[in-house]
Amino acid sequence: MKCDRVIPLLNRFQDGECHPETASAINDHLKRCDRCRREFLRIDQIISEIQEIKAVTPSSHFTARVMGNLPVQKPAHRIPAPAFIYSAVFILFFVLGLLVTVPLNTVKQMENREITLVELLMKSQNLNHFDTHQRAIDLIRTGGQHEE
């Protein structure tokens, strides 16, 4: 490898970011080439000195201070159900409601119809005294035929 190819790669090489084969080739070149070696060592020395600057450490009560300043946590969120689940539940209840109320209304309507028919029948059959309402309904159901 020649100097003009090595020099642009020195930075990457120094950062340990070269492909192993490239790093090996650069290493071999640096062993032979004084100029490139001097350039590399100059930067390497600066970086090593920077790395030797003592790391700072947090104070002994750092963690306690952080934990003490944490806001009070809200209760864990319930995972919100997707909107379609809510819609499906609503539709289900709506349909069930219809299924229950419509027949009830129908029965009531039928009863009301029966009551009206009973009145008509009573008038037509001249039935003034029925013991029970049910006799009149039976009459309607049997088509007006009753046994006296």
């Binding site: 930075n11 120094q14 920077i50 790391a55 700072v56 450490t57 952080v66 934990m67 944490l70 864990a76």
Partner: protein
Amino acid sequence: MLSDDEVIQAVRDGNTRHFEIIVNRYKTPILNFVYRMISDYEEAENLTQDVFLKIFKNLNRYKKENNFQAYIFTIARNMTINTLKKRKRMVAISRLFSGDRDEEFFHHHPDIHSRMEKKDREQQLTKAINGLKENQKIALVLKVYLEFSYKKIAEVTGWSIPKIETLISRAKSQLKTTLLLQENDSRNVKKVREK
């Protein structure tokens, strides 16, 4: 040992005490990153605390498929940049009224020079790093102090790898030039004092 994601889930489930694991795990590297950027220990510690508070408050925003280390350093980086911007504004305002007092300070405190000689090299290096452009400094600090790979730096900063490589390369060149100038200055100052 619980992974970062396991700890986060525990905290989300209401076990706040688990957050202590995150704090103990990352307090030193975060503090070192922030300190190298702003060069003031007390301020760096306060800012590091704020970083953890912000992380705690926004835990629900963190997605499990992301890298938590990159996430935490991204927050630290953004908060550090905001602090540096505020500081620049304050320095600019104070200099309007008082001027640069560094030289005056050293003139009235000759002892400082002798103390500096002991830590001369370290201060030279720190000053040289502080003289870098912001992005160069971030890239260099993450690479040199925290030994992040280019890929990890890319995750933290959102920069491309070629950009990171260029920033670090320019930072090193700048350091080389600055330190050479500083060394020459130091030699000249010594010569003057010896006379």
